[in-house]
């Protein structure tokens, strides 16, 4: 038993914790939780808690053995929303096999493998997500168009605004769970909010995003509203993206920074972007994994639907933010295609892998896009070599299917499950007769 595990056990005793939730994530990014009594925790640290993985998305057995979830004591947190006494706490868990080796079905392990590969090349991967989401009035009925809690816009200050209280409560709760918040404000669409998490290493950020989504939903329930990370709930308002800033560090030096280079962007940084662009289409199915995701991507406005990069170009898939003098450490690239409903472990893993591939293969960075890509004509885009991202989930899946990069990053098991699941989702969607059709065709035809 190491010190951290002892600390957890001691805290549990001192704080009178009656339940410990072990959190893990299925392949589609859904948080899963198993609650155990504190008395079982010692065993869980040593051997893990067995469960039948076959009922969980993507966990169908790779090996014919029970799966175990093994808590990571470094992620221990008392859950603030369950009341103080008796309390509940949570830890993230790794999925392992009975012999202690990690399960290839575990998203967290997918990311860990990608991070290990970066580490082999001497890099640490940092991410900084800006998570957007909507708040709706209760009751919320699936299938009906939801009512946003307000009608405000970008950066609006809403007096006595619901969102205002909400953000304050949410941020307090996030901070109490050890997740630092950098920024929060009202977003463009009615009822839409954005909260930016402070940058941290890839694995911590992914864990934090999982916690974040839960916290936001919990706080919303406490305040009598409903929170959703659905990429595009309204046809005529912008959707919820998760713009994510990425950077690589070599030791304590930012590997993207090179003083005096254009945009202070080093060779490594340029190759990383080139990798993101080169593989941008084939990783779309992971970064934008739902049928609905493509309605956000192709909904215009600030959503990037084309594979290109630019400096402060908000229509580009990859943006190099404004350089602040003497802040070499903050040089980074922002991927804008990602949405808030992705599986952050898998999404980070494929983005990292694409970027690293660019570095390893020494890809050339194409010219930057200076114009708003949406305003260009098809011919102009063709001339500039700007390719579109997939326009639907099935296009994305078809592209991903041919990608060795994605297969190798996810591992064959997750890769295979993901493709099957997404094909099934597309088949379900394709079979629907939509309100659009009923509205347009029923009267006329």
């Amino acid at each position: 038993m190491d010190r951290q595990q002892e600390f957890v056990l001691r805290t549990i005793e001192e704080r009178d914790i009656r339940f410990v939730r072990l959190w893990f994530t299925d392949v589609l990014g859904q948080l899963k939780s198993v609650a155990i009594a504190p008395a079982e925790l010692e065993g869980a640290f040593a051997e893990g808690i067995g469960f039948d993985g076959s009922a969980i998305e993507g966990f169908a057995r790779v090996y014919e053995a029970d799966m175990l979830v093994k808590p990571d004591p470094g992620t221990f947190q008392v859950l603030p929303w369950r009341g103080e006494n008796p309390g509940t706490a949570r830890m993230f868990g790794d999925i392992v096999l009975p012999d202690g080796s990690p399960s290839f079905a575990d998203s967290r392990y997918v990311l860990k493998r990608a991070l290990a590969k970066a580490a082999d090349l001497g890099f640490t991967f940092y991410t900084h997500p800006e998570v957007e989401f909507f708040l709706f009035e209760q009751p919320m009925r699936p299938g009906e168009s939801p009512t946003p809690v307000d009608q405000a816009g970008y950066f609006d200050h809403v007096p006595h605004g619901m969102g205002h209280d909400f953000r304050r409560a949410a941020i307090a709760m996030l901070e109490s769970m050890g997740i630092s918040v950098e920024f929060s404000h009202h977003e463009m669409a009615p009822g839409q909010n954005e909260i930016d998490l402070r940058y941290a290493d890839g694995l911590s950020t992914a864990d934090n995003i999982m916690t974040f989504r839960t916290v936001i939903k919990e706080v919303a329930l406490e305040q009598g509203v409903f929170a959703s990370f659905m990429p595009k709930p309204f046809s005529d308002h912008p959707g919820s993206g998760m713009h994510t800033h990425l950077s690589l560090f070599e030791g304590d030096r930012n590997a993207f920074h090179e003083a005096g280079a254009p945009y202070q962007l080093s060779q490594v940084g340029r190759q990383f972007i080139a990798g993101l662009l080169h593989h941008g289409a084939e990783i779309s199915a992971i970064t934008n994994q739902w049928v609905n995701s493509y309605k956000r991507l192709w909904g215009g406005g600030e959503a990037p639907a084309h594979v290109c990069w630019g400096h402060n170009n908000r229509s580009a898939m990859v943006r190099v933010p404004m350089y602040k003098p003497n802040k070499g450490q903050s040089t980074r690239v922002e991927v804008r295609s990602l949405d808030s409903a992705c599986n952050p472990y898998l999404a980070f893993a494929v983005m990292l892998a694409a970027g690293l591939k660019g570095i390893e293969e020494g890809y050339e960075l194409p010219d930057e896009a200076e114009d708003d890509v949406w305003t260009l004509t098809d011919a102009e885009r063709l001339a500039m070599g700007i390719e579109p991202l997939p326009s639907t989930l099935i296009n994305a899946v078809t592209l991903m299917e041919r990608s060795d990069l994605v297969a190798e990053t996810l591992g064959e098991h997750v890769f295979d499950f993901f493709l099957r699941n997404k094909r099934a989702e597309w088949a379900d969607y394709k079979g629907q007769v939509t309100p659009f059709e009923l509205e347009r065709y029923l009267p006329r035809l």
Partner: protein, 994 residues
């Protein structure tokens, strides 16, 4: 007298610088200077050094004293002073040079005493401090170097004149570590001075690691350290500042030690053992260290921490660091993956021999110093958790403690202790000569001569020292046996009661750490194998310590040990078996590896223990040719009277040959193609023998010749020469009546023979059955078992279905009448390679059939991604793709007219019918699936159709196909990747091509 160049010595002895030493003449012999010189390692060197020293003394004025006079007085008479000075001059040209530059230091040699760590520290630090404060003539760096060397002179003097060098070794090594600590402390003084005021805000400690931490330093070696810093105020807010200052201090300290000045350099300070190694921050706080070790550290890092000790700087901080970290060290054995890590580390040590130098290495390689240290540390980690007496940072102390606790046999510990001391002493003497960091035995005669004399060989020193070294190295080479396994045997065999024994608890810990899953069971087997006074028990007691190591190298040590016990139980009394194990070096090793690696081979051996003889036979593992096998089988058949006896004899030959092939496979002497060829030959020979026996019996019963000739045609993988351990033999039977024999009679006789062949092969026996599958014959299961050649001709003319043409692609005669075989091939060639290729209709039919098979043939519940034969990208996928090409283009492309999959695939690639990249991809996937299928049979002992679903199986199979231990889980990844790519190729080449 020991001089290599007597003439030159004479001249030197007459040198005026030595005036006063060499006369009066009567002193020269007897107890005089030359006599004293003859005792030292290199008299020529000593004499030359002495002359230079005296000259230098004459030229230099030191504090106005008459150094030369005093030295002459000291040297005139026999005694400690003279012995020491000459010993140092005769052993080290580097220290001689130092004395010439600093002649006043001769007293450091002649008046050397043992010093405590504190004395050394005060001495070096005060020398450096003086140079800083008084802004003296020499910069601080030089002062540090001079003070260090003058101390080194004293250590060398005591070392070289000790009664027995090996006894002195621990004292010398400890003194060197103390001196290094003193130098670090002094370097820190310099560093604080350089950094200036800010330095006061930072508490700073240097933790010695490696040999410095273990109080067992070499004369010249990197000094391994870790730096710790904390703010003086204890205020967390100042932490960042303290770390910055700490990093400056550490950098300055390292520079003070390693920089080269006019006075040379000390040694590089190596901080690479710190958390995150070279990429990590140079300095951390205690809390930051702790956090790293709790979360990230690997097993080897804990092993390194065994030796941690505060060597310089803030003692309180050092203690805080050690208090925080050491508990973790002793819990390392309970961490995840400890066992795997230990095994991996063990392998790494064994593999870590630089090829060119291995013969001269004192440090690396099997039986080198590193190996001893490493093995001792591992045992400390395994047993030190519960036994506090084992927690020493010093190798020799730890070894003694292990021996006292019964973890290592007393005599083994003594041998290792001796060897370690000798190797270290050699290393010291070699390094001392030029103060160079080297771990190589010299090869030049003068160097060896000096080395030999330095450790007391005065007659033929060069050869004697090499002999002594090699003898010790041989002892150490068996270190794993001595340290890890022998104590288990002593414990199991309950032999000498006088000796401290491994407790059952400790034995279980040890076995578990070595990878035995059922330590209690293993202990029982060991007891059974070594119990009693029989010759067998005695031999096994000596053998098993080594064999345990070999078992432990494999995926299933428990099974290996059990199988060995069973074989030993059934063969144990036979003379040749014990002799083979004992005398034939590699036989026992090969046996242990094979048994713990493959259940298939172990089962074969348990059923037929006598096959083990093959393992001892040097050429015994080359598969025998089809002709040779057939000759043996035929001879065996002739000796037997009944058909059943004859078949049993044939099956014995087959069983032995199977074992031979399996062992050759497991030991890497056969590649996939070689195995397939050997197994195909064996199957063909067995079929031929069965056919011969059956024919003989039917003829005997009919009382006359058969009247027809028979042919066995191999189909599928048998026809393709690609058979595996678990393959059925797909066959068709053909006959042709002799001239003048009635067709109906001939058919009847042929049917009788075929029935007898099937009966003979189907008899249950102790060997894996050769299952024959005749379902590919015309009309399948409903058709007659055997047809005449004319019958085949008529059938194919009338019916000839597409799937039959496809099956015939792999038809090849394997047994029976050769002429008939040729005739049969002439018959089928136009069917399988039809002129102009098969029709578009047939192509569509084949594709549809394949698509239907993919969904229907797969067993219920099987995963199409992992099924070797029928899965996506599996064997069938590739074979059907190749066969479609053969059916369409076989008539025009010579290379396609073969029954081998890979050969035809390659031909299709060359002819441009399949893109080269796809050929490559499919060939890889096909070969890997075949290899895995074979490996699975070897591992599990029975046919396996899909990727293993059990981790242990995956590991075992992974090792058989040459992947490292513990990489089994990745096997599935690799297979699925290859299969996925192959499937893409199949999609385009089989389904989509025009």
């Amino acid at each position: 007298m020991g001089f290599a160049e007597p003439d030159r010595a004479d001249t030197l002895l007459d040198d005026p610088a030595l005036a006063g030493l060499t006369d009066p003449l009567d002193d020269v012999f007897g107890d005089g200077l030359p006599d004293a010189l003859s005792q030292v390692a290199d008299p020529d060197l000593a004499l030359l050094g002495l002359v230079r020293l005296m000259e230098s003394l004459g030229k230099t004025d030191i504090d106005g004293e008459d150094h030369a006079g005093q030295l002459i007085a000291a040297l005139r008479h026999a005694g400690r002073a003279r012995d020491r000075l000459l010993a140092v001059l005769g052993a080290s040209s580097a220290l001689g040079d130092h004395l010439v530059t600093h002649p006043g230091h001769w007293r450091c040699v002649t008046e050397a005493t043992r010093q405590s760590a504190e004395q050394r520290r005060d001495d070096v630090v005060s020398a450096v401090t003086a140079s800083l404060t008084s802004a003296g003539t020499r910069p601080a760096y030089d002062a540090l170097r001079v003070a260090y060397r003058s101390n080194l002179l004293g250590i060398a003097a005591l070392d070289l004149t000790a009664q027995t060098a090996v006894d002195e070794l621990p004292l010398t090594a400890a003194a060197l570590a103390d001196l290094a600590a003193a130098a670090l402390e002094a370097a820190l003084v310099i560093a604080r001075d350089e950094v200036g005021q800010g330095a006061d805000d930072c508490r700073f400690a240097v933790i010695g690691m490696g040999k410095c931490g273990g109080l067992e330093l070499n004369y010249v070696s990197d000094v391994d350290v870790i730096f710790v810093a904390e703010p003086t105020s204890g205020d967390v807010a100042d932490e960042a500042a303290a770390i910055t200052v700490g990093a400056q201090l550490a950098t300055a300290l390292m520079r003070a030690c390693s920089a080269a000045t006019a006075e040379g350099t000390l040694w590089p300070v190596d901080a690479a053992l710190r958390p995150e190694g070279k990429n990590g921050p140079l300095v951390r706080t205690v809390a930051s260290h702790l956090q790293y070790y709790q979360r990230w550290a690997k097993t080897w890092e804990f092993q390194a921490l065994l030796k941690a000790r505060t060597v310089a700087g803030d003692v309180g901080l050092g203690r805080a660091y050690l208090d925080a970290i050491s508990p973790l060290v002793w819990q390392a054995a309970s961490r995840d993956h400890f066992v795997e890590d230990v095994q991996a580390m063990r392998r790494r040590v064994e593999e870590n021999v630089p090829a060119g130098e291995s013969a001269r290495q004192l440090k690396l390689g099997p039986g080198g110093l590193r190996d001893v240290e490493f093995s001792v540390q591992l045992l400390q980690l395994v047993h030190g958790r519960s036994d506090l007496t084992l927690r020493s940072g010093t190798t020799l102390e730890a070894l003694a403690a292990l021996s006292n606790g019964g973890y290592v046999a007393r005599e083994d510990a003594a041998v290792l202790d001796d060897s370690y001391r000798l190797l270290r002493t050699l290393e010291h003497r070699i390094q001392l000569f030029r103060l160079r960091r080297t771990h190589l035995m010299p090869s030049a005669e003068p160097d060896l001569r000096r080395l030999g004399r330095a450790i007391g060989h005065h007659r033929d020193p060069a050869r004697a020292v090499v002999a002594q070294w090699q003898q010790q190295a041989r002892e150490v080479r068996r270190i794993h046996e001595r340290l890890f396994y022998r104590p288990l045997l002593i414990s199991a065999a309950k032999l000498s009661s006088a000796e401290a024994r491994l407790t059952p608890e400790a034995a279980r810990e040890r076995l578990a750490a070595l990878g035995f899953r059922d330590p209690a069971g293993a202990m029982r087997h060991l007891e059974a194998l070594t119990d009693g006074l029989s010759r067998r028990a005695a031999i096994q007691r000596t053998l098993l310590p080594v064999m345990l190591g070999w078992f432990a190298d494999e995926a299933d040590p428990d099974a290996g040990l059990l199988a060995f016990r069973r074989i030993s139980d059934s063969l144990g009394t036979s003379h040749w078996y014990l002799k083979m194990l004992r005398d034939e070096g590699s036989a026992a090793e090969r046996l242990a590896h094979v048994l713990a690696r493959s259940r298939y081979a172990a089962d074969l051996l348990i059923r037929a223990p006598e096959s083990v003889a093959m393992i001892g036979d040097a050429g015994g593992l080359t598969p025998r040719s089809r002709e040779a096998l057939l000759a043996t089988m035929t001879a065996a058949i002739r000796r037997k009277n009944t058909a059943d006896d004859a078949m049993t004899a044939v099956r014995v030959v087959r069983r032995q040959e199977l074992f031979r092939i399996a062992v050759a496979d497991l030991t890497g002497q056969l590649d996939r193609a070689g195995i397939a060829a050997a197994l195909t030959d064996l199957t063909a020979a067995t079929l031929q023998s069965a056919l011969d026996i059956a024919t003989r019996r039917v003829e005997a019963e009919a009382g006359g010749p058969l009247g027809t000739r028979l042919l066995v045609v191999g189909m599928g993988s048998l026809g393709g020469g690609e058979i595996g351990y678990g393959s059925d033999a797909d066959v068709m039977f053909v006959h042709r009546a002799d001239d003048g024999v009635d067709e109906t009679d001939a058919q009847k006789q042929a049917t009788l023979v075929v029935q007898e062949v099937r009966r003979l092969l189907g008899v249950a026996g102790p060997d894996p059955q050769l299952v024959i599958d005749p379902d590919l014959r015309p009309e399948g299961k409903t058709g007659p078992m055997v047809r005449s050649l004319a019958g085949y001709a008529a059938y194919y003319e009338r019916w000839s279905l597409t799937w039959e043409a496809q099956a015939l692609l792999r038809a090849a005669p394997v047994a029976g009448d050769a002429d008939l075989g040729r005739a049969f091939c002439d018959l089928i060639n136009p069917i399988r390679w039809p002129q102009g290729g098969v029709s578009a209709h047939a192509v569509r039919e084949i594709r549809t059939l394949k698509a239907r098979m993919e969904s229907e043939r797969l067993p219920r519940g099987a995963d199409p991604k992992t099924h070797f034969k029928l899965g996506l990208g599996g064997l069938s996928d590739v074979e059907w793709t190749v066969q479609l090409v053969q059916l369409r283009h076989g008539y025009e492309i010579e290379g396609l007219r073969t029954t081998g999959t890979i050969a035809a695939l390659a031909a299709a690639g060359e002819a441009g019918l399949i893109p080269p990249a796809d050929v490559e991809t499919m060939a890889q996937a096909w070969a890997f699936a075949s290899t895995l299928r074979n490996a699975s049979v070897l591992w599990r002992g029975r046919p396996v159709d899909a990727l293993p679903s059990d981790m242990k199986d995956a590991d075992g199979i992974g090792r058989i196909v040459g992947r490292g231990a513990g990489q089994g889980a990745e096997l599935a990844e690799v297979y699925r990747r290859l299969a996925r790519r192959a499937r893409t190729a199949v999609n385009s080449s089989f389904y989509e091509s025009p």
